[in-house]
């Protein structure tokens, strides 16, 4: 999951970066309204963690601009936004949710609760109710970051799991290599030109060739169980 953290406190931003990476998220962090808007206009994000008190403005301004953004361009107006703030008044929560926020957490929060809420938001954005993804003989649990094939656990590396999860969440849409890279790597990550191909190759070796299909010249997709 590609996450943009908009937070001016370096401690929280660094903590979120470390913690969310442990949960398999790809995290980029910015500390102001201006930087946030530049980042949102440059790349797509699956989820935004937004602090309201920013040095050059209110985080609510970003939220409003995202929701008013035109379709088909960046930022995507339906991008899930979770607000993290020290403002704990009910009125503030109501105002933020009414403004278009998808969820609201008051600092300090339990990091695992934050991760769970992020997964729920991601699920909701993908139109799923079940926390576990099932495709044929495969069962993927994003929370536990585990994969089972015919009920047997399969060991995957962090990146392999991320590629599989991205394809299964997007299924049956085809994801290009660039789209996969956007979801899997933040701005600081070094990227080999054939990194995605390597991960796909390893996934096929561990889970079977039919798990991921290639559309030549376009990208990859995970077919649902019935089409195999």
């Amino acid at each position: 999951m590609r996450v943009l953290v908009i937070e001016d406190d370096e401690g929280i931003a660094a903590g979120l970066r470390v913690h969310l990476r442990q949960h398999g998220c790809v995290v980029d962090a910015v500390g102001s309204v201006a930087e946030a808007w530049r980042a949102l206009g440059a790349e797509p994000f699956d989820l935004i963690l937004l602090d309201l008190g920013l040095p050059d403005g209110d985080g609510a301004e970003i939220l409003q601009r995202i929701r008013r953004a035109p379709e088909g361009r960046l930022p995507h107006p339906a991008t899930p936004v979770l607000i993290m703030t020290a403002r704990d008044q009910v009125a503030s929560r109501i105002a933020s949710l009414d403004m278009g926020a998808d969820d609201y957490l008051v600092k300090p929060f339990d990091p695992d609760e934050l991760a769970a809420r992020m997964r729920a938001l991601r699920r909701r954005a993908a139109g799923r109710a079940d926390a576990v993804l099932r495709r044929g003989e495969l069962t993927v649990d994003p929370a536990a970051r585990t994969v089972q094939r015919n009920g047997q656990p399969v060991e995957l590396s962090t990146r392999e799991f991320d590629v599989l999860l991205a394809l299964m969440e997007a299924s049956p849409r085809v994801l290009s290599r660039a789209q996969l890279e956007e979801r899997l790597y933040d701005w600081q990550s070094g990227l080999d030109s054939n990194a995605i191909e390597v991960h796909v190759h390893r996934l096929r070796r561990k889970l079977g060739d039919a798990v991921i299909r290639t559309v030549r010249g376009v990208g990859y997709f995970a077919p649902d169980g019935t089409s195999r």
Binding site: E10, G11, A14, V18, A86, R87, P108, F109, P111
Partner: protein
Amino acid sequence: MRHPSLLRHLLTWVLGSLVVVWVGLVGIGFQIGHHEADELTDGHLASVAALLLNLRGSEALPRGQQVASQLLSRPELKSHDYQQSLSVVIWDGQGRVIGQLGEAPVPPFSDSEGFADLVLGSDNAGWRTFARWDRNEPARRLMVMLKREERDELASDIAWQVALPGLWLLPTIALLLGLAIRRGLRPLYELSGDVHALDVEQQRPLGIRHPQVEFRAIVDAINLLMQRSRSALARERQLADEIAHELRTPLASIALHAKALQKPLADADRQLSLERLAHDAMRSGHVLAQVLALARASRTEMTETAQPVDLAEIACRVVSESAPQALANDHVLAYRGPATCVRRGHAVLLELALRNLVENAVSHTPGGTSIEVQLDDAGRWLQVCDDGQARMTMHDGAPNPQTRLSLGLGLGHRVVEKVAAIHGGALQKIETGDDGTTTYRIELGLEPADAQRGNPAPSATTSRPELPFAAMNADSATR
């Protein structure tokens, strides 16, 4: 508990006054009734006497014969409620009774004329009499008499008739007055209802429905109070938000890094998280100390009395204790002011306020900034000047967030404002001047202590760096 009612109060007074007036009217009516009944009766007596004398009616009366019983036993002669039973006695010139009519006993003969009150008979009954002589031959004396009891009954009847309308009029007037007062008090009820329904959260002022001039003062006063309450509430909320932000931010960071450390981490990330944990724990403690200081400032205002305080000593101590942090941030810190300046105040609070301003200056300005603590020779103010704004403009610098331990400006300044207010002053930000300096001044309204006042010393305890505003004297700091 039953609250007193203004309507009941007004009704009691109005109806009480009405009853007093009515009782007075009845009393006066009774007196007038009596008086008029007397006059009327006397008139009747005189009229009958004149009539009988003119008619020489005594000739028709049986001489010396009692006819009272005969007259009284003839009820057909009674034809009006106010028809009175008159008695007549006629004497000849020698005092012999030549005629008598009615129930009155024969009074003693005398030569007198006119009205008189006599007590006659065995029952000592009172009689009103009128005597008149007829000097024509044969001379006669005629007396017409009426029992006083009968006359009093007439007077009472007249007085009662005067007072009677009041008996039904009084409740009617009371009812009408009650309704009128209730209706008249409706604007007051509406005002009372609106005041009761006032909500400090709503911006709508009182008074749109209350244009009455009598309410203007109270409506204005209530609106002013509400405005103050709203402002106070907004300030409290702002302070609560600032405290929440300052407290919760490092706690959230601690929670995140602690959770991250529970799982496998790269060495660099582990080191970073450990450093952040230590830093944010210190930061939390610092915020807590400031919040406690704010609470203490409020308590000090009420309980503790001011003591002699050497402002110069406080300023030098803060500068010397903040110097290591300033040096670590590549700042230059100095003090400029008298060697001693003793005033009455709260040393702990003043030191806390000054330390806040210095730490803010260190934390919110880029490296290389010159910071100077200045004390007025007369102890009227303490101020912290820095040229950080100019440096940020010139070098596009920025404060180092990693080393920031101070409060956010909002909460920090609230602490300083509170301390300044306790010392009869205020916190004042002097806008950045042309040379890019920023000054935060604590105005002090302190009285000189009994202790000796220090002599002004332009350069005192700490090193004097070459600041861009070093030549600036105390008064010229206000730009």
